[in-house]
Amino acid sequence: MTLDFARRVEVALRVNDRDRTTVVSPRTTLLDWLREEAGLTGAKKGCNEGACGTCTVLVDGRRMNGCLTLVVQCAGREITTVEGLAGPGGELHPVQRAFAEHDAFQCGYCTPGQLMSAVACIAEGHAGDDASVREWMSGNICRCSAYPQITAAVLAAARAPGADDGDER
């Protein structure tokens, strides 16, 4: 019953359809590990306290803030980052296409998080109308204030055939 506390922990997880094993200090966040160890710099570090959403990734298909998640909490989990959205030939995910078509960004810093959140928002069934998208996308801040275009892109992607059978599970 006495627990073994460790200062280095081995974690096996799956990232963008690839199995990986890593050894981390327990304090390592999923965001820091993705950016600094896994070479996946798509998820951005904005506020590092869960306020901005630009670190949003999918964990077992559910959107979460990478900065509020420890790698040790991801053992056996499947992570999808923005790098995992496009198809094997580089063809864009329908949500990515919708963002490009609707000009749903200016500086682009929030875009990886917006995309991941949008993919989940659509899969959850929360992209039925403007008000629902605004409510369920409120965890992703856009300081350029491209919200009307982002909302339009999410709604368009939700209506496009095949939008909800991507990487989200």
């Binding site: 627990l3 460790a6 959107r63 409510e135």
Partner: protein, 344 residues
């Protein structure tokens, strides 16, 4: 963030045994704990992870009582049909909290243990100002400075902060019980008594204390009486329409004399019984007991409800900058009762 040693609990009992040790924290979702570590609000040498304990998961009902495991996330609770059907105020409170991403991680066990959003408290160490929560006995920079978002009940000169949890307000209004496991075994704590105002903590001789949970105790779940014959509502007043803490909030449950199933929402409807709790007005959810006693027989109209609520708010002690919260709390309570009673 300073590093720590980490272990996964094999059972709730093993987590409690570990918590009984020195400088040990428990992690479930981690959305609060990691920010505490970053700011220096908490420091731990050891962190025990309860996230893998399946017996702390799940939302079930036996018809009379709803049981929600401590590891249920806010999104799971907010969209679960058992909760939306028999504890609608809690479902609504969960979905009005935080963001979709945070609600996928944040658990209902940890949510009620979140600490105040007071900006003087949530600053990175070393603090350039006094804060009795960070340095006991140092005083309250907010009382001397900005405090328009702070308490109107139960505060002391030591601290004027409010408890910000949305679900805690609904749990208090719904007469929920927290199931707790500690070194001495399991026990329950009524959610309307779970949190302590600064004054209550001082009266207990421990001004720093914020809840009745013991240092080595773990919340394992909640039991909520299921009352199918009443309507419920959670009203959250905030500066942004989404992803913002409440200035004030109100959870209400109402059994009315009108027949809601026929769609009869005439002004003839009266309250048969009602319960209402305010949020973000004190360091605990604030049940309006005096108002509840006066609710039976009261017509479900704004004009009839205002004086009943105002009588219960007569004991408020607003600070120089937050007198508006008394009026805002009154209006939130009235609106929650009207919504719960189906009159709006």
């Amino acid at each position: 963030m300073r590093d720590f040693a980490y272990a996964r609990a094999g059972s709730a009992a093993s987590a409690v045994a570990a918590l009984d040790g020195p400088r040990t924290s428990v992690i479930a979702g981690g959305t609060e704990l990691l920010n505490w570590f970053r700011l220096g609000i908490a420091a731990a040498d050891r962190v025990v992870d309860i996230g893998g304990l399946d017996d702390l998961r799940g939302i079930t009902s036996d018809g009379d009582e709803l049981r929600i495991g401590a590891l249920a996330t806010l999104n799971e609770i907010g969209e679960h049909p058992l909760v939306t059907r028999t504890a609608g105020a809690l479902a609504s409170a969960c979905l009005q909290a935080a963001s979709a991403q945070i609600r996928n991680r944040a658990t209902i066990g940890g949510n009620v243990l979140q600490r105040t959003r007071c900006p003087y408290f949530r600053a990175e160490e070393p603090l350039p100002w006094p804060c009795s929560k960070r340095a006991p006995g140092s005083g309250c920079a907010s009382l001397a400075g900005r405090h328009e978002r702070q308490a109107i009940f139960g505060w002391t000169a030591d601290c004027v902060a409010v408890q910000p949890s949305d679900p805690a307000v609904a749990l208090a209004a719904l007469d929920a019980q927290a199931e707790v496991l500690g070194p001495g075994g399991p026990r329950t704590i009524p959610m309307r008594e779970f949190h302590l105002t600064q004054q209550e903590a001082a009266d207990l001789g421990d001004p720093a204390r914020e809840t009745r949970l013991g240092p080595a105790e773990l919340i394992t779940g909640y039991r909520i009486p299921a009352r199918a014959d009443e309507g419920q509502a959670y009203v959250k007043v905030r500066e942004r329409a989404s992803y913002e803490y409440a200035i004030v909030s109100a959870a209400a449950a109402v059994r009315s004399t009108g027949n809601r199933s026929t769609g009869n929402r005439s002004t003839g409807n009266r309250i048969a019984a009602g319960r209402v709790a305010l949020g973000s007005v004190a360091q605990r959810p604030w049940r309006l007991d005096a108002a509840e006693a006066g609710l039976p027989g009261t017509p479900l109209t704004r004009e009839a409800l205002i004086p009943v609520i105002e009588r219960a708010l007569a004991a408020a002690a607003p600070l120089p900058q937050n007198g508006f919260k008394v009026i805002m709390a009154r209006n939130a309570a009235v609106r929650a009762l009207l919504l719960a009673g189906g009159a709006q």
